[in-house]
Symmetry: none
Subunit: 191 residues, 4 copies
DNA sequence: CATGAATGAGCTTTCATTCAT
DNA sequence: CATGAATGAAAGCTCATTCAT
């Protein structure tokens, strides 16, 4: 639980640098400098740069899941739960733009493809909140009768696109819009 | 007869290598070798690697637009036209997976951010087929009253996510599914 | 005598480009473009870049010698003849700054060292106007009793340094100064 | 004990290689090899090749100034001081031919032109020993009434030319000649 | 003779990784 | 455990030279 301080410094520095400058714009030496640590020290905590990049991604993913579960109650009606998850996700991204940029880069790189493949092959696990939600929605016949992967794309594809547009400054998301957008996504998946 | 023989070879080699290995996994020397051309020759056709990457993107985009316009008739009802564009786009991607992977990488890189910004500022032009379609839909009050950028995300965000999932082999898209998905996207944007 | 037009164009373009940008800032392709000739054509007239560079130097040297002999009369008193040569040289340089810059670069490059060595070994000939002038001056006991090479340095070393300073804009030479400088050089060599 | 071990090795290797082969005949890889260091190591000490070249020049210049000040006494008569500086300079060059060749190349390259310009504009400082000497000489009316730049050329132009000739083996300078030459230069500048 | 597309060796510079201290 | 100087493979790009047309 009490991870060494230095490890956290490195993770944070890597996050900020890579989010801003991309994987190749953030050399290990720069990460070392920003985190106030020697280059060699990074290699005590992470075997190599790839390991660092993957570990960072998984930490971010975990933080998002925690945030989605906050205020999420299995007792609520299904639609309400979906809207909660969708708006929480969008809100997380726009309040953590650096996390978003990192995740986006990760997912569209070879790293992301590997992880997805591993998840498909069962080597890595799919976050349960999503699979449970959609499994239930299909079972209750509230949702369109699509495979999980399609429902996921219909529900979250637009959110991610819009988070990016907001973060890039192409338009501004406010609470009203966020709700309207989540409802539009709901229209896309509801039966 | 076909003058830009070498240029085409280079473009094709770059497309395939970058789609597979990413921008940084495809050095100029590798592109040269794959295209059967000397390194220096690439620089006769493209001032530098960035120019090559951008030119390639614009060629692909143009091909997609041509393909979307094929069978598109302004006389058809609005919904039908939307479904045509959506299914055609999805079909293009799954029949040209390499193009898709290249475009995806491009759009999530600094190159893509620059282009988007230029388009927003009016320096580069937005493909008219999309802007016309949505402008008309909003005017006719068939679509939800959202700004263009949100409609675009709702309509195409899921398609792109699903194209990627199909190409990565996570599931299989067939004609029936494609139509159903396009209709689900329609549900997301229609009033 | 009627050298091909193209050869002259190449020589002139090379002169201007190299004078301004140095040997390595003037690629053959640039020389070709500036002279309105194809790259391959240059190689019809000059076996390679080194040959071009050397040929150009010798053409310039010849022009200077012609200009020094203009108005030079063996009948004049010795001092007057020296002042003529010295002022003519300085005037040539400041009216042909491009020639000066080329020559300067040449003489301080490996090319210049080779040529000097060849002249020492008798493979190349020393311009006669200088050797005759100084030989006579020494014989008449008007000049200090130094070897030719030292007299040459005392007489022309300052001129060349000042031509450079003038051309670089560090100060301005006018007719009065030119005469005064030549006389100061005379003070350096006269007995 | 001697920290900048590698830095010195690099400086020395660069000096020798560039003196012999010119700036462009001494690639970084060659400098690395000669100094027994990896290429990348050079870049720890010098940001790039230009920085290395300039740093090397300034180190040499400083060494020369130190050597000129050795045995120089402000109390001596003016002529004696001038002769000291002139002979010391000539002696330095012929005992350090590699330094001479490097300096010569530097001064006749774009590097040298930049430095001269900076010194003229006051951005870089002119070695005080020269400016003080000539300023005093003019004030005492011992020297011809020329601007500093002309006196400098008259005094040192011949020395530099003769150092080069000696180093290239065109003739041999000995102590007697060196003194005679310095006196001839004195004749050039004295009133 | 003239052309200029093609070549590829060679240049400068970067950066993930190692290891002696 | 921490350090950061050292490494050297590999990248993008240039340009003198060739040769099919």
């Amino acid at each position: 639980m009490n991870k060494p301080d230095k490890r956290d410094e490195v993770i944070q520095a890597a996050l900020e640098l890579i989010a801003e400058k991309g994987f190749h714009g953030a050399p290990m030496s720069m990460i070392a400098e920003k985190s106030g640590v020697a280059v060699g020290t990074i290699y005590r905590y992470f075997e190599n740069k790839d390991v660092l990049i993957n570990a960072l991604y998984h930490e971010l993913e975990e933080k998002i899941l925690v945030s989605l579960r906050d205020g999420y109650s299995a007792g609520e009606p299904f639609r309400k739960r979906f809207l909660h998850v969708a708006t929480a996700l969008l809100r997380y991204f726009i309040t953590h733009p650096i996390h978003f940029r990192y995740i986006e880069q990760y997912q569209h790189s070879p790293y992301g493809a590997s992880l997805r493949r591993d998840r498909l092959l069962g080597k890595a696990n799919i976050p349960s909140i999503f699979s449970e939600l959609f499994a239930e929605g299909v079972a209750q016949q509230v949702l369109k009768d699509f495979p999980f992967i399609i429902l996921f794309a219909l529900a979250f594809g637009p959110l991610i696109a819009l988070a990016r547009d907001h973060i890039l400054g192409f338009f501004v998301l406010d609470d009203v819009l966020i709700t309207q957008i989540a409802e539009a996504c709901w229209d896309g998946i509801k039966r």
